[in-house]
Symmetry: C2
Subunit: 354 residues, 2 copies
Amino acid sequence: MKITAVIMAGGRGERFWPKSRNSRPKQFLSLTSDGKTMIQKTVERISSLVDAGDIYIVTNAAYKGFCREQLPDIPEENILAEPAPRNTAPCIALAAAVIGRKYDDAVMLVLPSDQLIRCRGIFINTLKKAVKAAENSDDLITIGITPSYPETGYGYICCGSEKGDVFEVEAFREKPDLPTAKKYLASGNYLWNSGMFIWRLATINASLKRLMPEIYEGAQRIGAAFGSPDSDEVLEREFTAFPSESVDFGIMEKSENICTIPGSFGWDDVGSWLSVERINDTDSDRNCISGDVITENVRRTTICGGKRLIAAVGVKDVIIVDTDDALLVCAKDSTQDVKQIIAKLRENGRDNLI
Amino acid sequence: MKITAVIMAGGRGERFWPKSRNSRPKQFLSLTSDGKTMIQKTVERISSLVDAGDIYIVTNAAYKGFCREQLPDIPEENILAEPAPRNTAPCIALAAAVIGRKYDDAVMLVLPSDQLIRCRGIFINTLKKAVKAAENSDDLITIGITPSYPETGYGYICCGSEKGDVFEVEAFREKPDLPTAKKYLASGNYLWNSGMFIWRLATINASLKRLMPEIYEGAQRIGAAFGSPDSDEVLEREFTAFPSESVDFGIMEKSENICTIPGSFGWDDVGSWLSVERINDTDSDRNCISGDVITENVRRTTICGGKRLIAAVGVKDVIIVDTDDALLVCAKDSTQDVKQIIAKLRENGRDNLI
C-alpha cells in the first residue's frame, strides 16, 4: 500500500526564544551544527520510505514561504496552510481529506516537524514495522519511546498485551509527577508519547467520522473543494469553525483500536534550549558553542552566537542566545521561565520581539 | 596661594571591556546613571575649589577629542597630550613644567580621572585641609583612604605621627595578602593609597630634580618650548625619552617629606565591573540594571544594556555588558579573567575589539 506522510508544521514555539519567533518558529530553524532546519531533517529522514510527492506539510499560512524555500522537492500543492491554529485533530483531518483525493486508501505517517532522531536506520525500521501493522489492521498506531529516565514533561503510554510488532495501548497517562514517573520507568510497561502516528487513511477517517463528526464532515467539504475556485473560501470557512482539539484527546484516548510500537532510535523532542547540548557536540568542558565565542573557565554552557563576539567568563550552567534585536541569558534550571519574558513583552505591546 | 589641578587621564583601562576600549577608556565613559563621564565628574567635583583655567588634563593624544568634547570649560591649551604612555612621574613633571610657566608657585592637586567619590562635601573639606598643609610646608601629601574592609587589591600607607591635619608616612606597602590586609585593618594605622596627591609646585619640582633629574630636566625643556613653533617636536623628543615610572616608586617611596591625610568620603576606584553596583542604585533583588532589560528571578546581577533587548532569566551574580560588536557575560567571581579574553583577542589580531 502507498505510504504517505503528513508533517505537522504549524507550531509557533516560544521555547526557543529569542531565536524562534512567531515569524519563524523552531521547525524552520537550524539548531544543529549541520545547518539543516528541523523540518528539513524531518523530511530527509523519511525520504527512503516516502516519495516527495506523497509528503504533505500542514502549516500556518505565514510559514508557506519557509516550507517552499526549505523543502523545494515537496510539490507546492502538498503544502497545506491552516487558516487558523486548531491543534492536531483538524490538521490531520484536513490532510486526510486532501490525501483522499489522490488515494482511496494509503498508509499515513503523521510526524511533528520539530523533533530530532539520532538513529535514522532504527527509526525507519520502526516505521516499516508500524506501516506493516497498520496496513493489515484497523489500528491507530502511535510510536512510544522507550524511556531512559523518569521525565516529568512527557505524557506516557501504558502498554497492554503484545500483538506482533506492536502492543495494545492500555491507557494514556498525563505528565506525571516525579515519583509516578519513577514508578512508570521501574514497571517497564510505560513508553513516552512521541506524537508520531501511523494508520491507514480509511482507519483515521472512520475514527474521525465516529468521534469528531463535525471535523470530519468539514474536512471532507474542504477536500471536495480542493483545487477549485472556491478552495480558499471553503477552507477558510470550514477550518476556522473547527474546535481546537488534539488527536490524542479527541481520538486516541477514546478509541479501542489503539496500538503502540516501542521505539529506541535516539528520540529528542527538542523541547527547550536544554536540548541543544543533547543534539550537538559538546567540548571537553561540556559546553555547546556556536558562533564567534571566546570562553574562559566556562562549563556546561550553551552559547548560540549571533553577529557579534560573545565573551563568556567563569559562567556555569547558563544558556546564552544572541540575535540581532534580543539577547537571552538564562540559567539552565530556569528555561521554563523564558515564557514569562514573552508574557512581559506581550503585555508591553512589543510584539515585534515575540 | 593659587590652587591648580592636574587630572591624569592617559589610562587605557581594559577592566571595563567591552564597554571600554583602547579607543575610549573608562575615564571617558559614563558608568553612573547620571550620564556623566568619569572625567566630567572628576572635574565637576573640584569646581568649587579650582578655576577651570587652572585645571590641566594630561592625556593621550588620541583622547584629546574626548577631553575637548566632554570638558568644554577647560581651556584647550590646558589639555596636554603625552606622546607615549610613561606612567605617572613623567605625567606630573610635564604638568608641573607647564603650570610653572603661569605661576612661580602654586598648590597642585594631582587626581586620577577615573575614580568616584560619593561625598563631595567631605572630599572638598579634606582637600582644603591638605591644601593648607601643603601651602605651609615642603611636604608631599597623599590622600589615604580610611579602609572599610581588608582589600587585597590596593597598596597601603602606614601612618606615623600626627602633624596637624596630616600624618607623617612611615611606609608604603604593596598590595597585601588577605591575612596581612586583615592585620593592617585591625591595627587602625593603615590607609589605602588612593593615588591622589597635594603639594606645592616648588616642592614636587625640587623632589623631581633631586630624585628623577632626567625627567625633571626634560620636562623643563618641554615647558620652555611650550607654545613655541618647536613645542610639539620638543615634547615628542623629550617625553618619549623618559623612563616609564610611577611617582609612588620614583618619589614618594624615596622621600622623607611625605605626609598623608586620611579621607572618608566614599571613595571608589571603580576598578572593575564589580564597582558598578557599588556606585549605582540597585533594585530590591540587588540587581544593577541599565538599558532595555527584562529580568525574571535574577539576583545580584549587573546588566549594562546596549541597543537590543536583554532578557535575563534565573541568573545570579553575573555581569552582562552589551555593546554593538561584543557582549560580555561574566561571573562576578571571575572579573579578573576578562583580561584573558583581551589577551586572546590580541593573539588573534582582533585589535578592533580591544
